[in-house]
Symmetry: C2
Subunit: 445 residues, 2 copies
Amino acid sequence: MEMPDAVVVGAGYAGLCAARRLRTAGLDVLVLEASDRVGGRTLTARLPGGWALDLGGQWIAPAHTRFAALARAYDAKTFTGHTQGDNVLVSQTSHRRFSGRLPPLPPHATAVLALALWKLDRLTTRTLTTAQAERLDSTTVATWLRRRLPVPQAHRLAEAILGAELSVDVASVSMLALITAIRGTGGVRAGTEAETTASLFVDGADGPARSIAAELGDAVRLDTPVTSIHDTGDDVHIAGVRAARAIVALPPPLAGRIHYTPALPAARDQLTQRTPMGAALKTCAVYDTPFWRGDGLSGLALDLDGPMTLDASRPGGPGLLCTLANGPAARRLTRLDPAERKATIVRSLVRGHGPRAAHPVDWHEKNWSDDPYCRGGYNAYFPPGVLTTVGPALRTPVGRVHWAGSETATEWAGYIEGAIRSGERAADEVLQAETRFRDRLVVPD
Amino acid sequence: MEMPDAVVVGAGYAGLCAARRLRTAGLDVLVLEASDRVGGRTLTARLPGGWALDLGGQWIAPAHTRFAALARAYDAKTFTGHTQGDNVLVSQTSHRRFSGRLPPLPPHATAVLALALWKLDRLTTRTLTTAQAERLDSTTVATWLRRRLPVPQAHRLAEAILGAELSVDVASVSMLALITAIRGTGGVRAGTEAETTASLFVDGADGPARSIAAELGDAVRLDTPVTSIHDTGDDVHIAGVRAARAIVALPPPLAGRIHYTPALPAARDQLTQRTPMGAALKTCAVYDTPFWRGDGLSGLALDLDGPMTLDASRPGGPGLLCTLANGPAARRLTRLDPAERKATIVRSLVRGHGPRAAHPVDWHEKNWSDDPYCRGGYNAYFPPGVLTTVGPALRTPVGRVHWAGSETATEWAGYIEGAIRSGERAADEVLQAETRFRDRLVVPD
C-alpha cells in the first residue's frame, strides 16, 4: 500500500496549490483527480495556430495577489482585455450603445439603482448583529431587489448582473450570501473595479494549473475518481492509499457525494446537501478578426433576451466573442439541441455586433452542468438559511480530513484567487496539525 | 449474475410498496437496502413488556387511504391519540392552559393570524400564473410571514408550527414549496384536520413495512448500500444484479449520492443538489403511567423555548411523552452531549407537565441527521428557486431508472401516505414501460 504524507482529492487550482505547498514543505503528496485533466473549473480550448480560448474561469484582477504570484512563478503571460469602444445594451427589439460600466437607464432608474448600491455597500461594510445576519439570511436576493428596486429597468439590470455574478437566479440565493461574497472582494466598489480591470491569460487561465501539475509529475493521478474516504483515527485510507491527512478540494456538493467512514458530523453533511452548484454555459464564437472593433464596439453586449457577450480575443489573434449564460438562461439554452442552441446564441451576437457576427468560423461551448466532475458552475451557492446554521462546517476539518475549494475561501470565494488561497490555507492546516510537519511551514512566494 | 425483472433501491415505505406492487403483478423483484432494517424514516423502539414507541413517522389520518389499506391488509391496529384535557403553551417564564387547536393569543394577534391563514388558503386553492408561481418561489416562508404577520406572538407561533411541519427553519423554504405541500394535503383546513384526527399504530408505524418485507422474504436484502447504477440502455446494472428497470426510492439528496453511468441529465442532477434534508430530533420519555391525564392535561405542550411535546402512550401502556425538535432547534439540541440534551428536554417536559415529568423511567432518542442512510429528517425540502426551475425532474424517469420516495408524491408528499403512493406510482411506471409487463397492471387493494 502506498503511504504518502498527504492525499489531495481534486486537481483544480485549490487541490494543486495545496499539493504544491505541501511538496515545498517537503511532504510526499499525492493528488487524485477524477477527470482526465487538471484545472477544475478552468478549461482551455485550442484553435488552429495554437490560440487559446477559455471555456471556464478566465480573469485575474490586480487584487488577485496569489494568482499573480503563480503567474509569475510559471511565466504565464496575461493581457488586459479589450475595453475600447462602446458597449451595447440590446434586446429583441432594441439596440443602444453606451460607454462606462452601466448601461443607459432613465434618470429615475439610475437614481434608484445608485441608492440600492449604496445600501448594499453599507450592508457589506458594517458589522452585522446576529439578528441582522439571520434576517438577511432568511431573505432571497430577489426579495431584497424587489423591495429596493421598484423601477423595472433598474430591477431587471440588477437581476441580470447579480445572477451572472452568482451563476444562479437571484431567487435562489440568500441575501447574506451575496453580502458575504461582496465582502470577500473588498466591497462593492473594489469588487466592481476588479472586474473592470481584470486581465486574461494569453495561453488560457489553466496555464499555471497545468504547470503545477507538470511540476508535481507522477504525484498527480488523473482518471481516479474518489468514492470513499476512511478515517481510521490514525490515518486516512483513500483509493488504496494511506496518508496522514487528506485535503478534499472539491465544491461542497461533490465532496458530499464521497462516502465517508465514520459518517461525517451532521452539520458537515447537511452543509454539503445545502450548497448546490449554480448553472453556467459558456460559448465562444471565433471570427477571422475582431471585426466589431472597427465599428467602434468594445465587444461587451448586455442582451436582455440572451446571454452576456465579451471580447476574449488574444492580441494579434482571431476575434473571440465569448458568451456567458447562467442560472435559468443556461438551463433554457442547454435544453436545446446543439444546432438550435448555437443559432439562438448567434442571433444574440448579431443583435449586439451586427450581421458579420452571423457566421463564426469556429464554435466552442461548455455546459458546466453536464461535466460529470463539476455538475454545475461556476460555484456552489448559498440558499437562504444555510450560512447562519451550518455555514461554519464549510472549513472546519473533520478528523484527518481538511476542506479546500474556492467556496471555502474567506477572500475571493468563487474566484480562481479564492481557490488558490483555500488550497494554501488547507495545506497550512495539514502542516500545523501534525507535529512532524510543524517545523516545515512554507513562506509563500 | 442475478437477473430479476426490477431492482428497488431503498426499503422504506416507498421502496417496499413499489416492490409489493411489482411482485403482485408477477414480476421477479429485488429490494436493496443500505441499512440493517426496513422502514426508512419510520422506526419503532420496544419497551419491556413489548410496548412500541415511534422514533420516526407515526401518524395515519383518515384521508391516508393507501396507508389504511396496508394497515388492513397486514392487520396493523391503530388507536386514536389521546386528546382529552387541556393543551399547554409554555416558555421559560410562562405556563398557560388552552383548549382547541390554537394557543391563546391577544385578540389582535388572533385576528392577524386568521387573516394570514385565509390568505394562505386562497394561495393554495387558486390557480397560479407562471409569474405568481415564480414570485412565490423566489420568496422564503420567513419573508412571507414577516410581511403577513407583523404581530410578534402570532409570528412566533406560525414560525414554530410551520417550521415543525417542514422540519426546517422557515428561512430556508420557498413559499411556493409550502403552498405545494399544503395543496398535497387537500388545503389548509383539510391538512389541519388530518393532523387533529390522526391515529397511531399500537405496534409502531413501521409495522406494515415490516410485514411487507416479511412477505417479500429473500427479495429484500439488508446491509446492501448501492453506490452506483449503470444503465446500459438495454438493462440496469446495480450491485452485481441486472434488471430491466430500477426504482430509486430514496430522498433526492441521497439518490444524488449514487454514481450514475451515463451521467444523469443536468436538471435531475441539479435537483438532487438543490433539495436537502431537513433536521429532526425525536425523543421519547417513558413514565410508569400517563400521569398528566390525571391533572387534566392532554400531553400536548407547545414550548416557545423548547421542543413540542405530544402524548404517544399506547392504550393501557406506560406514559409516553414524545418531543419533536426540528431545524435549528434540532441542531442546537444535537450539539449537546447526550446527558445535557436529555436534561434540557426534560426541563421542557417539566415546564409543560409539572415536576412528575422530571424522572422518566426510560429514554429513547433518534437524531435523524446522524442516520447514515437518512442524513436528515423528516423530508427533503425545497429552497427558493428550485420548484420552478428543476422541479419537474423530481419524478421524470431517466432511461430505465424511476424515482420514488415521499418527496416525489403529488399528494401527501412528506407523509408515509405520500411514500406509499409514490412507490405504487413508480411500480406502475415500470409496468407500463416494458411491453412484456404491460398486461399485468395491478388493481390496488
